[in-house]
């Protein structure tokens, strides 16, 4: 059984405070090996916090307040992420799971050369390599992401934004991890450069076969790159669906709203609107569905009963947390299929 690489069970994250902010609330999912999972949502929906929790990168005031993350490596060994620390954690990061952050400018140290920063990774996570091997591997990795290997001598400021992002991706792949978490890897870049980076990631994935969690607020991009799509709202998954089909048939009203917020570049001109209102305060508890106050399809139970993420009847592997798709309320529901209404 080597199919599931990562299993999250009821993962919750809190930011400590007088009234703690519950940024991620009981998120459970399974990630299949080799898959690209896209996580979408507005700012503050908890998508980055979830990614940090999965990579065990949370720092106070944030902390895991419940749940478990299990990582199964290719050799079949299961690791409970909560129990990892010290040397085990160090050998786990980069080797098994690595992360690409949004701002490549901040992810790279401005005062040391690119080669030196690769060296640091190898010294910390692969101490058996000697200086020559480290240099060789750094050059090899740069070439792999389409950068002149002699750039090991360059400093971050000597590279363009796109090149820096390539360097960061090369670093994330340095120790051939099985899972790469990418948090808005192309958001700060131009469309053309963004496309080059995406193509590069896709090509490397074909070559190296790693699994990806891809986080961005750009739905049209996410629909294209991911195999499965998770839509987050108020710290929860509200829809978890095959990406190819959710593009044309989103089930949750929030997903419909997000998709409606992006004009289609090539399609028909249509009236566009965003999602009225603003996201809820995550320090609060919700009596019903957290999206109910902004939802155009809200009805009776939405303000009183919290919806549970469950499979939509007749749609295998497609989950939504919405009473509209709950057979218990089938009689009361208004059909909201077909995107923008």
């Amino acid at each position: 059984m080597n199919d599931i690489i990562l299993r999250a069970e009821h993962v919750s994250v809190e930011y400590a405070g007088a009234r703690p902010t519950r940024a991620v609330r009981e998120v459970s999912f399974e990630l299949r090996r080799g898959e690209v999972l896209g996580i979408a949502g507005e700012s503050g929906s908890g998508k980055s916090t979830l990614a940090y929790a999965l990579a065990k990168l949370l720092r106070p005031p944030a902390g895991l307040s419940g749940g478990a993350v299990t990582f199964t490596s290719a050799d079949g060994a299961a690791h409970d992420m909560a129990g990892l620390d010290g040397r085990d954690l160090r050998s786990f990061r980069w080797n098994k799971v690595s992360m690409v952050f949004q701002s490549a400018m901040n992810a790279l140290n401005p005062v040391t050369s690119i080669g030196r920063q690769f060296g640091d990774i190898f010294t910390a996570h692969a101490p058996e390599m000697d200086a020559a091997a480290r240099d060789r591997r750094a050059r090899e990795l740069l070439a792999k992401v389409g950068i002149d290997p002699d750039r090991v001598r360059s400093f971050p400021h000597e590279l363009s934004g796109g090149m820096r992002q390539r360097v960061v991706i090369a670093m994330a792949l340095a120790l051939e991890p099985e899972l790469v978490i990418m948090d808005e890897p192309t958001t700060a870049l131009d469309v053309v450069v963004q496309r080059e980076i995406l193509d590069e990631i896709e090509r490397l994935r074909e070559e190296l076969g790693f699994t990806v969690i891809f986080i961005t607020h750009d739905m049209s991009l996410l629909l294209e790159v991911s195999d499965r799509l998770a839509v987050m709202y108020a710290g929860q998954f509200v829809e978890y669906a095959p990406a190819e089909r959710v593009a044309t048939d989103p089930k949750h009203p929030y997903t419909q709203g997000l998709l409606g917020s992006f004009p289609d570049m090539r399609g028909q001109r249509r009236e566009l609107r965003g999602i009225p209102g603003s996201p809820p305060d995550l320090r609060e508890d919700f009596a019903g569905c957290p999206f109910a106050p902004r939802c155009p399809a809200a009805f009776g139970p939405c303000t009183t009963v919290p919806p549970v993420l469950r499979e939509i009847p007749g749609e295998s592997g497609w989950l939504a947390a919405c009473h509209l798709h709950d057979s218990a309320y089938a009689t009361a529901s208004v059909p909201v299929t077909g995107g923008e209404s």
């Binding site: 469309v191 080059e196 566009l272 609107r273």
Partner: protein, 366 residues
């Protein structure tokens, strides 16, 4: 008559070492009342410099800015009158409002200029009217707040309200939504669109997002390295791009609905095109070996007189290296020296592929 017009605008910046950088290279554009013109292009293409020149925040090296056909005032009273009618909205609503002042203060300052000596009660009324016109309610409450108490979208609405305070005819919006969260971008763009219609404003929408450019504007200009390389009706430019650069931009946009197999195919095609462009560029670069200087300088030397896009262009021909496409003898309908592409409404591209003499010798890009 166009309300705001730029003719052959050139903006140069002095660089270290005495060189000059031509950020805007003889660009002309017209803004019409009640119409949105989108200006798109990659970072560093000169979009913001054009906005700054039109807003008179940067002095053009040469060229003219005409308001209602008359040269724009550059100093004193003339400049103040110009600023009243041409207003800017910036990208970052966190930086464009003063954190020390209330929203009321931000809006009352420009109103005071327009209505000197107005009573305090009347001023409050006008501030509230402005806030309501940008859907910031309850307006009296918002007026008392400081910028830090508002979200990014609300701040951008305040910035728009402030721009409207002097009852302008022209709004120059420089990436007005790229700092905002996805779900509110459309609301701000819809707001700008509604204000444009209600107040008959001429709107310049600067963006790098082709999809919103197409949806919120009637005409689009595409900029590349300081030049306007394509200009035409929004749908034509996006759906039938004529310039290879616009084609590259359009091809780079995500394809959310596309089936997997097609995506892979499209990616392979892009990779092949990139490799070809790289090989061509390297071949050209080889001829410039030994001229010294940095890579970027060598590239500038290489570009010399030719088309600026040619090192990235999959259709580059011999002629592209020797003469700039803007030196073409163009017909009377030319804009920015660009050649008209066939079609009902004017659609121009600054490219040899669309020059009458070059068309026969090469296949037309599709």
């Amino acid at each position: 008559m166009s309300v705001l017009e730029a003719r052959d605008l050139v903006v140069e910046f002095r660089q270290r070492g005495g060189d000059t950088l031509r950020a805007v290279d003889s660009c002309s554009l017209r803004l019409e009342k009640g119409e949105t013109l989108a200006l798109v292009g990659e970072s560093g293409s000169g979009k913001s410099t054009i906005v700054r020149a039109l807003g008179q925040l940067t002095k053009p090296t040469s060229g003219a800015v005409l308001l209602d056909g008359a040269p724009a005032g550059r100093h004193g009273r003339g400049l103040r009158a110009y600023r009243k009618r041409v207003q800017l909205i910036f990208q970052d609503p966190f930086a464009s409002l003063n954190p020390m002042h209330t929203i009321h203060y931000h809006l009352s300052r420009p109103l005071l200029r327009l209505h000197p000596g107005v009573s305090r009660a009347r001023m409050s009324e006008m501030v509230i009217e402005l806030l309501e016109s940008v859907n910031l309610t309850p307006a009296s409450e918002v007026a008392r707040k400081h910028p830090h108490e508002l979200s990014g979208g609300q701040r951008q609405r305040v910035a728009i309200a402030r721009a409207l305070a002097s009852a302008p005819d022209v709004l120059l919006a420089d990436e007005p939504v790229s700092m905002l969260d996805v779900s509110i971008r459309l609301e701000i763009l819809n707001l700008l669109d509604r204000l444009k219609r209600e107040r008959n404003l001429a709107l310049l929408y600067v963006t790098h997002d082709l999809a919103t450019a197409r949806h919120f504007s009637s005409r689009i200009m595409v900029m590349y390295r300081g030049q306007i390389v394509e200009y035409g009706p929004a749908d034509d430019v996006i759906l039938r791009p004529a310039h290879p650069y616009t084609q590259l931009l359009a091809a780079a946009a995500p394809n959310p609905g596309m089936p997997r197999a097609q995506l892979v195919e499209a990616r392979r095609a892009r990779e092949a095109a990139r490799a070809a462009a790289r090989a061509a560029a390297e071949q050209v670069a080889g001829t410039a070996e030994g001229t010294g200087g940095t890579e970027a300088e060598r590239r500038e030397i290489l570009l010399g007189d030719g088309c600026r896009f040619r090192l990235r262009c999959p259709h580059a021909m011999d002629v592209c290296a020797t003469a700039p496409p803007d030196a073409l003898a163009t017909g009377s309908a030319s804009v920015n020296g660009a050649t008209p592409v066939a079609g009902a409404e004017p659609h121009h591209a600054l490219c040899w592929l669309h020059a009458p003499s070059a068309v026969e010798s090469t296949t037309k890009a599709g």
